[in-house]
């Protein structure tokens, strides 16, 4: 309980009774209402819900990214460090050493003015004080690790010369550069085509195995979550309405909202009412 060694064995991310309010008085809005969530090393936890359900906001609290003027209560522990009410120093430490985040639109989230190599190296150079040469070597092996071909050449190119899928790999490489224990993926595959989506999910699963990463995966796609995650939390209006092992939630949903989400899946619609397409006869 008191030793820091024990904390390593506990969940990498744990939130309890997490509440987030924005605005004041009459116009105050509760964005999160008692969210409890945990993710251990080597585990992929899916956070599923529709837009505005608070899933991304929950994820952001784990790196101290609450909106301006928001009031946060409850608990967010990242590798045992409490972030609710934490000072800037503590937040920076979590961002630099423990958690990393990837986003829905890598084209917007990768700095368009930096070459790929410089962008990925920045994490090591700015937060670890590595030399340019040392960081550059590490960048090549990181780009290789996330499955990008010809990393030496790629490091010299600019983001606009790469596809969205490649940029998401670059994003992941830069997230991995500081050897985080927790990877937060905010709709990280939503903007990608199906094939690329599958590749990125495969990559995340591999990284979970190889690096023992704890991954929290935010998505509105319950199918995808069921196929890729170990456990799923379903969120609605800032509340976790259902949680459990991925397949269980997917196959035997208990909460009506989960059932509604499942019914809205295009794959289900197709299964129940197959579209007659030319050549079916």
């Amino acid at each position: 309980m008191s030793g820091s060694k024990q904390m390593v064995d506990g969940p990498v991310l744990a939130t309890e009774e997490l509440r987030l309010d924005v605005g004041a008085g009459e116009t105050a809005v509760r964005i999160l209402d008692g969210v409890g969530l945990s993710c251990a090393a080597g585990e992929i936890v899916g956070l599923v819900g529709e837009s505005g359900s608070g899933k991304s906001m929950t994820l952001r609290t784990a790196v101290g990214l609450a909106p301006k003027g928001a009031r946060l209560t409850g608990s967010v522990r990242v590798a045992g460090r409490e972030l609710v009410g934490a000072g800037r120093r503590e937040v920076l430490r979590v961002r630099r050493e423990i958690a990393a985040m990837i986003f829905q639109d890598p084209r917007a989230h990768v700095n368009p003015y930096q070459r790929i190599g410089a962008f990925v190296a920045d994490g090591l150079r700015r937060t670890r004080g590595w030399s340019r040469a040392r960081a550059a070597q590490q960048v090549v092996s990181l780009l290789d690790e996330v499955g990008l071909p010809d990393p030496e050449t790629l490091a010299d190119r600019y983001p606009h010369e790469l596809s969205g899928g490649m940029l998401q790999r670059v994003m992941i490489a830069s997230a991995l550069s500081t050897e985080p224990r927790l990877l937060l993926a905010d709709e990280a595959t939503t903007a990608l085509d199906v094939t690329t989506q599958a590749e990125i999910m495969g990559l995340l699963r591999r990284l979970r195995e190889e690096r023992g990463l704890a991954i929290v995966f935010v998505t509105h796609d319950l199918d995808l979550a069921a196929a890729s995650c170990d456990r799923i939390h379903v969120m609605q209006s800032g509340v976790v309405v259902e949680e459990g092992p991925a397949l269980e939630v997917f196959e035997r949903p208990e909460h009506p909202y989960t059932r509604k989400l499942l019914d809205a899946m295009p794959s289900r619609l197709d299964a129940e009412a197959p579209m007659p397409i030319g050549g079916a006869a």
């Binding site: 790196v63 990214l65 920076l92 430490r93 979590v94 961002r95 630099r96 050493e97 990393a100 985040m101 986003f103 639109d105 917007a108 989230h109 990768v110 700095n111 368009p112 003015y113 930096q114 920045d122 994490g123 700015r126 937060t127 600019y158 606009h160 010369e161 994003m171 830069s174 500081t178």
Partner: protein, 318 residues
């Protein structure tokens, strides 16, 4: 190679065309304006008709307009800008002696504009609140105040009342010149610095809201790294484009500032020359100003793909 050389050749060609067109327009304007150069020259003195005629002959003043222009142009093409009517001195020599003062004044003002405008602009964008509000109010006033008013206000406060800076002259030696040129440079810089400040502020507010800046925050970069290492790189692009225009535009404002502060630069020379219809000088000074304008635009255009990687794919400058 030719892919790079051809646009450059086109640039040089268009520069020549712009210079030709402006020189014609200025020449025409001088021709149409009332009064004749020799009457300014001999002002008040009794001069024989022969002397007057000699001056008229020397400057081809009795020729028709077009042939006057062509004669002048022919000289310019051969590097001969003619003799100043009022100073009886080669125009090139005259201008060469005036350029250092103006160059130093404009350079001084440019440094003030960029340093103050960009620093305060970034600060306002980052801090917002009171700093931002103050910057907006002060820059609005600065933009709306004509440079001659600023010049007089500065003179009366810092030169006459407080006596910190000289009110007149350009000084000798670098340090002394800098001291003499401080008030003129501030007067010259003020409204442009305000414009650069506002542009920097708006652009940086936009840049600080960009997703890739959020990425830098999530990666745990320090605030100054986020601002100067990430947001500034993109935020400064519109400012560079503006700075080229603003700084070359200073050459026009120097006419006022140099006159108010009694500086012997290009600007005050132009004013004197226009007053007495000393057309070889007017032409030469205006050609210099136009050339600086066009060239600084060229530099900004060439710089753009350097600053904006996404513009490079489309084959260099527009």
């Amino acid at each position: 190679m030719s892919a790079w050389l051809l646009p450059l050749a086109r640039r040089v060609g268009s520069l020549a065309l712009v210079l030709l067109a402006t020189s014609f327009i200025v020449f025409g304007a001088m021709y149409l304006a009332p009064g004749s150069p020799e009457s300014f020259l001999v002002r008040g003195n009794s001069v024989t008709a022969e002397t007057l005629q000699a001056i008229r002959d020397q400057y081809h003043l009795d020729e028709p307009f077009l042939s006057q222009y062509v004669l002048w142009l022919g000289g310019v093409v051969h590097g001969d800008f003619g003799l100043s009517i009022q100073f009886r001195q080669p125009v090139a020599e005259l201008i060469a002696s005036r350029v250092p003062t103006t160059a130093m004044l404009v350079g001084y003002a440019a440094v003030l504009i960029l340093v103050v405008g960009v620093l305060v602009g970034v600060l306002a964008a980052v801090k917002r609140g009171g700093v931002d509000g103050t910057a907006i109010v002060v820059s609005t006033v600065a933009m709306a105040t004509p440079s001659f008013v600023v010049a007089m206000a500065l003179t009366s406060l810092f030169a006459v009342t407080l006596g910190w800076f000289p009110a007149f002259g350009a000084g000798e030696g670098f340090g002394d010149r800098l001291w003499h040129l401080t008030l003129p440079a501030v007067a010259l810089a003020l409204s442009s610095a305000a414009l650069v400040l506002r542009t920097t502020r708006t652009s940086m507010i936009g840049a600080l809201g960009k997703e890739y800046v959020e990425t830098a925050r999530v990666r745990g970069f320090s605030s100054s790294r986020v601002v100067w290492g990430q947001a500034f790189r993109g935020g400064i692009v519109p400012v560079v484009t503006l700075a080229g225009l603003v700084i070359s535009g200073l050459l026009v404002t120097t006419t006022i500032v140099e006159t108010v502060f009694g500086l012997n630069g290009i600007g005050s020379l132009l004013v004197q020359a226009v007053n007495v219809k000393d057309f070889p000088v007017v032409q030469a000074v205006i050609l210099i100003i136009v050339a600086v304008f066009v060239l600084s635009n060229l530099v900004v255009d060439l710089l753009y793909p350097v600053l904006e990687p996404r513009a490079r794919a489309k084959g260099g400058a527009r």
